[in-house]
Every structure is written in C-alpha cells, then in structure tokens.
C-alpha cells in the first residue's frame, strides 16, 4: 500500500508538542491541517480529509497511512458526508486507512457518514495497530443514501472492515457487509432505519467516557424495551387488524471487548442522520479535554 498511497500523515512530538511532521496527499485526496481548531493550550493535531467534489467516484481508491507517535494526539475528520457516486461498470470506490497509535497516544477518527448513492459499490478497510496504553476513538457510520429524496438502501454493495491489532494479536475484528441480491433485500433488513453507526472507544484515557456512555445507553434503551403486551401474541392477531407498533427511533447497545475489557463498542441504528449526530455530539463531548473541541459540534 505504501507506494500506491494517496495520503501519508505522521504526527510526532516536536519541542514537547504534537506536530505534523509529514502530510502528503494526492488526487483524489486532500488533507487540510487547520491550526486553530482548539485553544492553543490544547496539544492536538487536527486533520480534515477532503475529496475533490465531496465524494468518491466509481473506480477510485483513496488510501492513507497515519502514524501517531508516542504521547501525541491527533483527530481526523471530514467537512461533510462522504458521497459514493453511482457505480460505472460495477467498479468499486475504495477507502483504505492504516494507522499506528503509539504509547499513551490518542487518535480520534471522527468523520461524517458515508452516503452511497443508488447502484454505488463501496469498500472500506481501516486497520489500527495499537499498544496496550494507546487510546483510540473510531466512529464509522453510513446512511441509506439520499433518503430524503426517496433513495433508500438502494446501493449495490457496501463493505466496511475495521481491524484493531494489539501487538499483532487481533483485538477487534469487525466486518459489515451489505449486498443487494441476497435472500432479503437491504431495505427489508433495515426496516424504517436509515443510519447505522459504530463507535469504538479504546484505552485508559477514555475510561470515563466509556463508563458514561455505557450507563446512559443502558438507561435510554431500558425504557424502550418491553415485552409485547398483546401485539406479539398469536392469539390476539386474528381478531385485531395488523398495526405495526412503534419502534424506537434510535436503537443503541454497548459491548465491552478485549480480554481485559479495555474497549467499548456502541452499535447504533437510527431513523435519521440528525439523531445519530446528536448521539455522537452528546457522548463524545468530553473528548474536548484531549482534542480541544467537541466532535460534531458544528454538524
């Protein structure tokens, strides 16, 4: 991947502060490193990953390597959702990220969602190499498409792979695949939901955020879940007209991962992008302490 990479980033300590010592990008990727995202007292490098035209065309591959040195902090985000345009000759659009997070370092990958247009084909793979005391925030999310104009779950192929290795041992191996033409259409699988999101929080610095998120998600969902009173029973179905009971507009659940439980992953499904933005804004707000600004504050 190294020679074909469209982007390469290195963050290292320079005179005691996190600094961008390498920042290379070529078409179709563009990297912008604004210096004034947070207050000057905050030691963090911010990077905006942009694409020409705001999306990825069929057949394009964006690959980027990121290295966050020991005790450094970096945040990578986008300016708006990443559009994946219609497939031409069933060619895939690809995004690849390889990142290394050093000792006691923090990397936050906090992009806007991926939006696949109808017939689009998209493949994404992100591999993270971490140490036992590295800290990682990873948000990976996608929408049904331009659902406000009626384009819902109409893409052809979506695959997102996220691997986290702790000293070469698999710590978190995640792969989501949605493909048309299987036994059950994507739209049927997703029911009324338009957004699927995953939030990974790993490392000792994020302990407080992990605990708070787990507790709040549990409280939020406990109130939404209840045994069916009559709707689910086969004995009442015959007499009553079928009426779909209201589903929760946002479903979320948290799980610990790693043998010692150092990581938390939240899985979220929601009917609208806005609901997920407010979920992320709320649960990641405390990252401001490390990266100098609250993620998704302007979204």
């Amino acid at each position: 991947m190294a020679e074909a990479a469209t982007g390469a980033v290195r963050v290292e300590k320079v005179r005691g502060r996190s600094a961008l010592t390498r920042c290379f990008a070529r078409y179709p990727l563009k990297l912008i490193a604004p210096s004034k995202v947070g207050p000057a007292s905050c030691d963090a490098v911010w990077l905006y990953a942009l694409t020409y035209g705001g999306g990825i065309v069929s057949g394009d591959t964006i690959s980027c390597t990121v290295s966050v040195g020991d005790e450094c902090t970096a945040a990578i985000t986008t300016q708006a959702s990443t559009k994946v345009y219609k497939a031409v000759d069933s060619k895939c659009s690809e995004q690849l990220l390889e990142a290394r997070v050093g000792e006691d370092a923090l990397l936050a990958v906090i992009p806007d969602p991926v939006t696949c247009f109808s017939t689009a084909r998209y493949y994404q793979k992100q591999v993270f190499q971490v140490c036992a005391n590295s800290n990682l925030v990873l948000v990976d999310w996608f929408t049904s498409g331009r659902y406000e104009s009626g384009e819902k779950w109409d893409f052809s192929f979506y695959k997102s792979v996220n691997h986290i290795f702790l000293e070469d041992q698999p710590l978190f191996i995640d792969s989501v695949l949605l493909e048309q033409g299987s036994n059950c259409s994507i739209a049927e699988r997703m029911q009324e939901y338009n957004v699927i999101a995953m939030v990974v929080l790993l490392g000792p610095k994020l302990r407080h955020i992990q605990d708070k998120m787990q507790e709040e998600v549990k409280r939020l969902m406990s109130g939404q879940l209840r045994p069916p009173t009559s709707g689910g029973s086969l004995y009442t179905m015959r007499s009553q007209p079928p009426q779909r009971p209201q589903q929760p507009p946002l479903v979320a659940s948290c799980s610990l991962f790693g043998r010692t439980g150092t990581g938390v992953v939240a899985r979220v499904a929601a009917v609208s992008t806005e609901l997920v933005y407010s979920f992320l804004r709320h649960h990641l707000a405390a990252l401001e302490l490390f990266i100098g600004a609250s993620p998704y504050a302007a979204s």
Partner: protein
C-alpha cells in the same frame, strides 16, 4: 445438490457390499452406519448443549417491536441464517476441514475478537463449552477431544466458541465439511424457531411449517457462504446486531441471549 451426499453414500455402500474387495465390506458398512447415528445424535435437540437458552436476538427484537408477527419472524429467521452463513460458517468450515488443536486455538481467538457483540459472544462461548463437555463425555473413543478439554479447561487464552468447537468435533467424528456447515445452519434455524414458540410468537405446528418453508433458503445461503476462509467472515445484519446487544438491558427476559 441437496440429495448428492446421501445418494453417493448409499451407492458407495452398495458398491462395497456387491464387490469383493480387499477391505472387509462389513467394516466399511459399519463405519458408515455408525456415522449416521453419530450425525443424528449431534443434531438432536436432546443433546444438552444449552442451545435452547438462546433466542439469537429474537427476544430483544420482540421487545423493541422489530418482530411482532409471523411475517416478521420469517424475515428475522432468514436474516439470522444469512448472518450465520456469512459470519460463522467460515469458522465451522476451517475447523472441520482440519480438526487440529493449534489451528483451533487460532480460530477460537480470532472469533473472540470478531464477536464484538458481548451478548452474542457470551452465548457463543457458553454453547461451545457445553458442546465440548458433552462431546468429551459421549465420544470417549476420541482421544483428541479428551485432550483438548483437559489441556484448555480453565485456560484464559481460549473461550471455546461454538462454531469452531462444532466444526472441530464434526471433523473428528467424520462429517464432511459441507455436512458440518449444513448442520450448523440447521441447528441455528432449529434454535431460533424453538425460541419463537416459547416466546409465543408462533405455534409449534406453524413453526414446523415455517422450518420446512425456509429450508430451501437456508440451503441457498449454505451454497453461497460455504467453504470460505475466516478472513472473509462478515456480519450482514447490523440492525439486528444493535438490537441483540440490548438483550442485557431488558427488565424481564426468558433467554440468555
């Protein structure tokens, strides 16, 4: 495709009886006959592996109103089967193809990292441990099963996940890997439908009807996902994954997962 393996087995059987060969025909017949008994026993719901303590996310799906009638149930079963095919069959396949202890350890550890949903991960580990315990008591003639259990019991480095243990045992008792994978799909469907009847979503007779109706879909999914490497394992039902994760949040529940 479905009738291939039984037919070929039968013809092999006749063949060995008809022809006079160097090998004693009665032994070959005996082996093949006893394999049937073993296969049926492994698939029998009487085998105490604890499968019936799990709803595969159905209970959480009902409590969040994702599944509220028989049509929803059918779609749910198909999604669970598809997800089983894409995510777990590679583990069944790889461990049944070469039931070797070192390879099994690697598969178990990889699946531990792959099952990122805590509810599903615990369910998989408890079913796998129960299956190994039963297999070690039942198949006393298979030394490897005894050794595996003795070596790793209480070990913190392995979790005894269900799919690799199932494949491992199937491989040792002589299942071909396609049969092992079909058996895994069959058990998954059996357990989800059993949970559906106990959740009062469907009657036992209607569940049997549904099981028969969904079988061709399950076979199609088997053909699609069989014989794949674990590097390809993916989940295909992210909504149900988020919902299943809520299982522990439910105030009242019948199942462990």
């Amino acid at each position: 495709m479905e009738s291939d393996s039984p037919v070929s087995k039968k013809s092999r059987l006749f063949h060995s009886v008809d022809c006079v060969m160097e090998e004693a025909p009665s032994t070959a017949t005996g082996v093949s006959q006893s394999l049937h008994w073993t296969q049926w026993q492994i698939l029998d719901s009487i085998l105490p592996t604890g499968g019936f303590a799990h709803s595969y996310g159905l209970e959480a799906a009902m409590q969040s109103r994702m599944v509220s009638n028989q049509d929803d149930l059918r779609s749910f079963v198909i999604q669970v089967l598809e997800n089983t095919g894409s995510l777990l069959l590679p583990f069944v396949y790889c461990s049944s193809k070469s039931p070797d202890v070192a390879a099994w350890v690697k598969l178990d550890q990889l699946l531990e990292a792959t099952l990122t949903n805590e509810v599903g991960r615990k369910a998989s580990a408890s079913q796998g441990s129960a299956l190994l315990r039963v297999a070690a008591s039942v198949f006393t003639e298979i030394q490897v099963v005894q050794d595996l259990r003795r070596t790793f019991l209480g070990s913190k480095s392995v979790s005894f996940h269900h799919a690799p243990i199932f494949g491992f045992i199937c491989g040792l008792v002589g299942f071909d890997s396609e049969t092992a994978q079909r058996a895994y799909m069959f058990m998954t469907m059996r357990d989800v439908l059993s949970a559906a009847t106990r959740l009062n979503l469907i009657g036992p007779l209607a569940a049997s009807v549904l099981q028969h109706q969904v079988a061709p879909d399950a076979e199609r999914m088997l053909q699609k996902w069989k014989d794949r490497d674990v590097a390809e394992a993916s989940q295909t039902a992210p909504l149900l994954d988020a919902v299943q994760g809520c299982h522990a949040y439910m105030f009242s529940r019948l199942f462990c997962s």
